[in-house]
Symmetry: C2
Subunit: 225 residues, 2 copies
């Protein structure tokens, strides 16, 4: 496999699909690419937000911490998504923590340069706009889940989304690897670790899923809806 240059990443990015060659090279000049290991923190709450981040590989977790130390995950960012979008929405500071949960390749570009590019690139502008709209919808769906669904339903519908977003279809159902710790699922679904354990084993019991600490396999595909 050929070495992956930053331009290679940018070109394979649907955010930039259809962008002129010239703009592409401009983006390449103006952005930086970095590899971040698991557990690295990309930004903290209260840190100034003047950068936007584009994730090419890996996973990043966007979360919040309460004063008493409790934690909740707002969203999991996967390849092809941007984060830190608050910077282009005029937010001075980050409210969230962004932490790498699977070794990541991240492109960064200063909000000023990005906005400059958006100004004379309507296609990019439109894509960002749609992305923001999508983000807004996602968070509203999160609220809806918290209000209308019970713990078991929240856990199940998260698992479904997780598999659809990050899994691969195989002969014997869907497969995601690596899997998450129960505590991580609990943080995402606003439940307790023990409840996650219970739901997971119930699903395994009825042969809907099979899992170890390393992978999650959905055996009964119709469960995915």
């Amino acid at each position: 496999m050929a070495e992956k240059t930053k331009l290679w990443y940018l070109e394979n990015f649907n955010l930039f699909s259809g962008m002129a060659q010239q703009s592409m090279e401009e983006m390449n000049r103006k952005s930086k690419m970095k590899t971040n290991k698991k557990k690295e923190i990309i930004y903290f709450p209260d840190e100034r937000s003047d950068t936007i981040y584009i994730l090419k590989e890996g996973k990043v977790k966007i979360s919040r911490i309460a004063e008493d130390g409790r934690t909740t995950t707002m969203q999991l960012i996967g390849p092809g998504e941007i984060f830190g979008e608050g910077s282009i929405l005029g937010q001075e500071k980050h409210e969230n923590i962004a932490e790498v949960v699977e070794d990541a390749v991240i492109c960064t570009i200063s909000k000023d340069m990005f906005q400059e590019m958006m100004k004379d690139n309507p296609a990019l502008n439109l894509k960002i706009t749609k992305f923001i709209g999508f983000r807004l919808q996602t968070i509203q769906a999160h609220v809806e889940d918290l209000v209308f669904k019970n713990a078991q339903e929240r856990i199940e519908s998260f698992l479904k989304r997780y598999v659809k977003n990050f899994g691969k279809q195989m002969v014997d159902g869907w497969m995601v690897r690596p899997f998450l710790k129960h505590q991580e699922i609990a943080d995402i679904t606003a439940t307790a670790r023990q409840t996650v354990n219970m739901v997971l084993n119930e699903l395994a019991e009825q042969d809907t899923i099979k899992y170890t600490r390393r992978f999650l396999q959905v055996k009964n595909t119709s469960w995915l809806n």
Copy 2:
């Protein structure tokens, strides 16, 4: 008091402050103004979203309904705020219901015209951008409240926000009028009507607030933080 023309409203709108006279008149031509009575529905879920709404007077409630009929309020829109912003974020359909909860004066403009205006009006563009960022923050704060706060805390912090947003400062504390039904507060805070009742009476007990069905008064101002 002079009759309120639409132009009068537009000019007193901070969304358009600093806008050129010419653009102002263009906006006036392109938008419509309407008065909506309490309980009128501005839009339903699944309705096409091709309009943006600017609220000058009154209150509008943005909410969601589950299949089983349960309801939750995502936000209360007050004078000076826009809603239906999904239209300019590329969302085909509304996910929410927008319902007038206090007789309202609403300006509407088609998303196409609005985007046209944004294109050659950087100041307007910036304001909308910031507004969207603010909306995103608000919803994230909603998630945070649901996860970290218990029912009592959610109700209290909603009351504080409500008073700060919609109340007037008086010699003897803050005053909001009209007040909300307990069920409405329950819908906003994702609690039960009876719990709202309990919290409200507890606060009245300790002389923090005083309320009837018509108004809410905060007697102990330090409670507001």
